[in-house]
Symmetry: C2
Subunit: 284 residues, 2 copies
């Protein structure tokens, strides 16, 4: 895949993962400041919209191609911000956002991938997972929501599942929004300081911070075991919101450029239709 400097810099290499070695406030692959980053994001809008419309148009002639952007990250890492600022750049008509909360009783009665399968984007769509099947090897591992053998089974099941998706025309982009513990603390504090943001705060968020090292370990294992060629992981430093938004947009743009969807060729006689239209009886 032809990639940008940002994608090259964020692509997780094969092998063991040490998240403490990846800076959370960096802006790898981007040589500019905040204002430059915001400008660069804005500048991508037209091309993203054009490529998205071409992808959308392709579905009308039977293409199965679609994009799946998986967003994972700790609380406050900015999944919502990416949806607003990056996904907000493209036509909402062609976007399918699926948010995964704690599974319902019905979902729990099925294999963990059952609800994921149901949440996949149809052909032509850019699908976004706000959390995903990775919760089933992250929170599930940290809080012992499944047996170790089952967690172990899931890494392979995820790889098989994603390989099947890729085979069926899904271009998969997996982003771990990598926020620092100190940055999370200041974001939680900011929510507490502003009454308009209290609804975003949950006392449980603070309890979860006690499990920070366990989550990091769970992420490291998951990232290593599911970092495949067809569904690679990108670790996106997320302390700088503007870089996080820019980086995800760049990954999306790279992916759409690689898909390179073309405008469908007319399956009707264009000249004959022009003639019919020109010669039609007046419409009252």
């Amino acid at each position: 895949m032809t990639t940008s400097p940002i994608a090259d810099a964020l692509r997780l290499p094969a092998g063991p993962v040490d998240l403490t070695a990846i800076e959370t406030d960096a802006k790898p692959g981007f040589d500019g400041k905040k204002a430059d980053g915001k400008g660069a994001l804005f500048a991508m809008g037209d091309e993203l919209a054009d490529l998205q419309e071409r992808l959308w148009a392709q579905r009308t002639v039977g293409s199965e191609r679609r994009v799946l952007l998986v967003l994972q990250g700790m609380d406050t890492s900015g999944k919502g911000g990416v949806l607003r600022h990056t996904i907000g750049l493209v036509d909402p008509q062609g976007v399918r956002i699926t948010s995964f909360k704690a599974p319902t009783d019905e979902e729990r009665a099925h294999d963990f991938l059952w609800r994921i399968d149901k949440g996949l984007p149809p052909a032509g769509y850019i699908g976004v997972f706000d959390r995903s099947h990775y919760e089933d090897v992250l929170i599930a591992r940290v809080h012992d929501l499944a047996e170790p053998a089952e967690i172990h089974r899931r890494y392979g099941a995820i790889n098989d599942f994603e390989a099947r998706l890729a085979d069926s025309g899904v271009a998969i982009i997996k982003c771990m929004l990598h926020v620092g513990a100190d940055e999370q603390k200041s974001r939680l504090a900011a929510r507490l300081d502003n009454p308009d943001k209290h609804w975003k705060y949950n006392p449980g968020d603070l309890d979860e911070r006690a499990s920070w090292p366990a989550y990091r370990e769970a992420y490291e294992i998951a990232l290593e075991r599911t970092n495949t060629d067809v569904a690679p992981w990108y670790v996106v430093p997320a302390d700088k919101k503007w870089f996080r938004n820019l980086a995800v947009a760049q990954l999306l743009l790279d992916t759409l450029r690689e898909l390179d969807p073309q405008w469908p060729v007319a399956d009707f006689d264009v000249e004959a239709e022009k003639k019919r239209l020109a010669e039609e009886s007046p419409v009252q």
Copy 2:
């Protein structure tokens, strides 16, 4: 409802409807030109986004409030343009777009409102119907897809359905995008002239123009019979794309202002949480 001059001008009065008496290239309620209209639309963005987020926040404390924007109109009237330019102003996370095509076999095996019910926005969302249950009294009437007695039954069924929705917290905005036959002709011609737009053209669109008077009559009857206080119709002149986009945005803004969603009050002890956060053990 406190409304804007545009909403006042577009609100369909009770009684028989004569669509030929409503200009398609007008801009009722707006005293400005294209550039002013685009500026006015852009200027609404922040308030729309703020109100949408408040509506979204309310769902976290159990509010059932939601918005349903119904878009109806002939081919090329600009339903897609409204989705892109107006709905594109708000956070895609809080938007649920449902497009209704020809019903599937499964959908046809149920009452016509079955699939509509399934496509409703959840609490906190702005839902948009790109076509809707009105097709079941429009195309169904024009092309005899149902018996006259069944069509007749549907008007009342729609009113009952929408009254139930309103009772359950759905603020309903129904827009008929009113495009002129000549304007449609020039839009179809433009699609034929541009190979990048051929995918949007379907020879059937031209056949449908022969039924233009029958569609107008079907719209007039449907508009009259389903123009209720809880789910009023707005006829939006749609020859000027900028006015169409502005008008729908204004109707959405009026509706959200009327809902006036407030930021939820914290259901936890804010000061205690601040203290806990400040005093937590360092996260490694």
